[in-house]
């Protein structure tokens, strides 16, 4: 299956391939939940597929998919294709180590087994630690012929600039609202989920359809609403931070920080007068009004920076409870 928003990227890559201009290192970048990892897998399979890679003539046909029947596709499906290597952290949240990256060099030093290309997928690329990233540089700079390195990243900024500059960046943009909404409605209907909340889900997922679908399955919307209520209560001084911390902790640090960022950003927009209150506004009007009246812009910006700092410390071993308490207390102090 191909996601509709991948079609232009596919076309672009296939065109490059067919005209023998495919770069040896592609950096797929974009927000999480756009299916970049899936795209890299599909493209790898297509490159390894014996039927598809008999260069299609230009212009490239619209539907480009691996055949699924040839030796290459069968080995790919059995996860034993000798010309494909995947490099990922050993477990979620761990780093990709230098040994794993050295294995890439060993893998590419030998010629390919069946396919024309040898493909390496590094996902997520930002999981490479400093040493691993540095030892990938030589491979990126002097690849053996017929090598394709696919780096997948949803945080391109945290990659070494030397890595970024050695790759061709293929950015996966967020699909336009109608396309995303159509796809999400269909996908949710298929998994028998109620489809009325698609707009809010997409808003939560910042337009990434796959992430929105994941949210729908996990019922994230209801915890979002709870947190929003709690945030509004805090702002209106109807509750105190210590009572609310439990709820925030139960939702988890990563999503709560992200949402809080959205809310504060909206407050700033409202306060500066660039936003009109309409159906798409997240916070309720009394809350907006109250904050706009009592808090200076400067302090809102400072608070936004505080959230960003906390987001940055997420992957470290930070004390979750202290972080949330600190943020909530500063928020309620902020709008006295």
């Amino acid at each position: 299956m191909q996601y509709p928003w991948h079609v232009p990227i596919w076309q672009h890559l296939a065109q490059r391939y067919c005209s023998a201009q495919l770069s040896h290192a592609l950096l797929l970048s974009g927000n999480p939940g756009l299916g970049k990892a899936i795209l890299s897998e599909q493209f790898a399979q297509w490159i390894l597929c014996e039927a598809a890679t008999k260069r299609p003539q230009l212009p490239v046909p619209e539907k480009l998919l691996p055949c699924g029947k040839c030796n290459g596709c069968l080995l790919y499906s059995a996860a034993s294709h000798p010309d494909l290597m995947r490099v990922s952290p050993e477990s979620e949240g761990k780093a990709i180590t230098v040994d794993a990256v050295r294995n890439i060099a060993n893998f590419l030093a030998l010629k390919s087994q069946f396919a024309e290309y040898q493909v390496v997928i590094v996902a997520p690329a930002e999981a490479m630690n400093k040493y691993a990233a540095n030892s990938l540089l030589k491979t990126l700079e002097e690849p053996t012929p017929n090598t394709l390195l696919l780096l997948v990243s949803h945080n391109m900024g945290s990659l070494l600039p030397t890595i970024r500059s050695r790759c061709q960046v293929i950015s996966c943009p967020v699909p336009d609202a109608t396309q995303a909404n159509d796809w999400l409605t269909q996908a949710m209907a298929q998994s028998a989920l109620p489809t009325e909340d698609t707009k809010s889900l997409l808003m939560l997922a910042e337009g990434s359809p796959l992430l929105a679908l994941e949210y729908a399955k996990a019922g994230t919307l209801s915890s979002y609403k709870q947190l929003l209520q709690s945030f509004e209560k805090l702002t209106k001084k109807q509750s105190n931070p210590v009572e609310e911390v439990g709820l925030w902790l139960s939702v988890g640090l990563a999503p709560s920080l992200k949402w809080m960022y959205l809310w504060v950003a909206e407050l700033i927009r409202f306060k500066s007068g660039v936003m009109v209150v309409d159906n798409n506004t997240i916070l309720s009007e009394p809350v907006l009004g109250k904050v706009a009246e009592s808090v200076e812009s400067m302090r809102l910006y400072t608070f936004l920076d505080k959230i960003t700092d906390s987001i940055r410390t997420l992957p470290t071993q930070v004390n979750v409870q202290l972080t949330v308490e600190d943020l909530l207390i500063s928020w309620s102090r902020l709008n006295r």
């Binding site: 069968l74 080995l75 059995a78 996860a79 034993s80 294709h81 000798p82 060099a105 060993n106 590419l108 030093a109 030998l110 010629k111 390919s112 087994q113 069946f114 030589k138 053996t144 012929p145």
Partner: protein
Amino acid sequence: MRFKIQREDILKPLQFVSGVVERRQTFPVLSNLLVSAKKESLTITATDMEIEIVTTTKITISEVGEVTIPARKFFDICKALPNEAQLDIAFEAEKNRIIIRSGKSRFSLSTLPATDFPNIEDIKATFSFKIPQQLLKNIIDKTQFSMALQDVRYYLNGLLIEIADNAIRAVATDGHRLSFCETSVDVSPSEVIRIILPRKGVVELSKILENSESLVEVIIGANHIRLCLANLQFTSKLVDGQFPDYNRVIPSNGDKQVYAERDFFRQAMARASILSNEKYRGIRLRLKQDLIQAQAHNPEMEEAEEEIAVEYQGGELELGFNVNYILDALAAIDTDRVKLVFGNANSSCLILPDDEKIHCKYVVMPMRL
């Protein structure tokens, strides 16, 4: 698939292939063997994606078919069965199990489908020739010790095989020393073929080849090299790279020629090496009229000195070497006398067998002590 086989008939092929199966596998199917029963033969294939070994045994097959079975367990079962036991091996397709029966024992092993197995069938041959096994084994054994080990210059982690008009050469180097060996064979490629065999393939190949006159067929493809022996087929991937031009490394302008008794010289070097620095292995050689003085010392200031009587007419020269490299070269030469050619204190030393008919050359770079 179903066949009967005697324990000894399957044990030997299993021993050959199981060396290739690594314990730590990234792909589960690689810890399996591909067992395929064709009309009159049983072939067993093992691969680690770098090298592949296929063995063929002639037996009567009651039912043809192919499947992959866990290598280690299958081998251990066959080993543990009593001598001359008869094995009845059958594949139960509906349960995806392989059943091994022998006497009162019965084993049921899990399987993976044969299509999952990445065996190399056609290597798209570009050139092939036949050569007596011992000749090929000889040039490999005489050079392989100089291959680099996990060098970032990955093309040095292997052995260069060069096929030119009526000659095959093997060259290995790690950047500090170089081994070269040539043998004449009746081949005539349209242009010189240069391939690099990866280290692992070289080591495995030297184990497989025997010191016999029997011929081995060597097939070279774009990405692979394949050797066909009577019951065994060995395939290795090639290294994707350009080997340095070794001719520029072999010194040709050395004017100081030393002839020495090989064994005598080697023993003296081995004794002196005991007290050389354990990390750098440096040894100082001083060339004098009909004499080489060797001197080694270590960080504890312990010292070894050796005087070796040689045939040498020429000026005095003093230079340092890694003693291990000299010992390796001396061990690889099998003539009684060796010839050492020196230039000046900064040029490489060339070690040769004292026999014009043997085309082996060993180059050792000097080191600053």
